[in-house]
Symmetry: C2
Subunit: 199 residues, 2 copies
């Protein structure tokens, strides 16, 4: 699953970051557009052309990792933080202090569950990733063992903050808590146990 290196990472970034952002905007716009059906059909023709161009040579399977990117801690295909994945919010995780992280994000129309609100499963997706990030230490990867999500109140679409912090460690287990905050209110709480594989 490790891909060959990328010749010029910065040149690739300069093309793929804005391209991915445009597709991200396209997703949001497709959900919200109110143009007539003829305009939608014309847009579809352009998307087919983009697909023809990008689809001419496609790697099998998934993006996986590439040694150059892995060294930089940049999984470009990742669904939550990937530079080349338009489904990624993307989440920009900040290390606030050892074992404590946060991320401020805008969650738009494409993440809707109940009308006007973030899908509960998207809340758990974000919390899974942020709690993992709090448990992570360089050179010591962890995987999620269990995750418990408590929905305190509905989470409105819009500006959202995720926070996570390590409570304690015991052997190979790291106990982490976290929450989502919307307009000063905690909307979802989480606790997770993250496990370090045996060396």
């Amino acid at each position: 699953m490790t891909r060959p290196g990328i010749d010029d990472i910065e040149a690739a970034r300069a093309v793929y970051q804005p391209l991915t952002q445009s597709v991200r905007t396209l997703i949001d716009t497709l959900v919200r557009t109110e143009v007539d059906l003829d305009s939608a059909r014309a847009a579809h023709a352009h998307i087919r052309k983009a697909l023809d161009l990008l689809g001419e040579k496609v790697m099998p399977g998934s993006f996986g990792t590439c040694s150059d990117l892995q060294q930089r801690g940049e999984p470009w295909g990742n669904v939550v933080i990937g530079l080349r994945n338009p489904m990624a919010l993307p989440l920009n995780i900040v290390d606030d202090s050892p074992g404590q992280v946060s991320a401020d994000m805008h969650v738009g129309a494409a993440y809707e569950g109940p009308p006007g609100h973030v899908h509960g499963g998207v809340c758990s997706l974000v919390l899974d990733h942020v709690l993992s990030a709090a448990a992570y230490q360089p050179g010591r990867p962890v995987y999620t063992g269990t995750l418990q999500i408590t929905y305190v109140r509905p989470t409105p679409l819009g500006e959202l903050r995720a926070e996570a912090w390590v409570e304690h460690e015991a052997g190979r287990k790291t106990y982490v808590r976290g929450r989502l905050v919307s307009e000063g209110h905690t909307t979802v709480k989480a606790q997770g146990i993250f496990i370090r594989p045996v060396d």
Copy 2:
């Protein structure tokens, strides 16, 4: 949040279902493409044109609901099942028996977390939705109270099955269990408590 009705739902469906599928393929292709940067730039130009067309008239906020679609139980903007949301797998949930549902799906490169595997948060997103569907009864909506996810083993990208079933009910609470199954193995288990709002 309830939108005005759609003049001709079937005409809209005939345009938006294939358009959304093309954007879904575009997301997957953007993650996996290996074309040169000039081709990627040319694809970007087409995507900008599609955006110009679709962005000419956009509803504020999110898709929310529309009375015609709500009657049919079709939230077109929903991130997991929405006809107009290319982030949706989409999940096609089947009622196997009262209180028991399942969904077979293909989870592609765009849902990657660990290389070659489904992001743990995507597993929880799918389980949240499928457990909710098991708890749902017509005219009796529920919201997720708590959700507990246990990761048994990594979930490979590819064909995946989600199952959920009601264990028991107590007052306004419905206790539900579920799991993800990949190639005959349970990879993730879930249990949730779903709550019916006071009438």
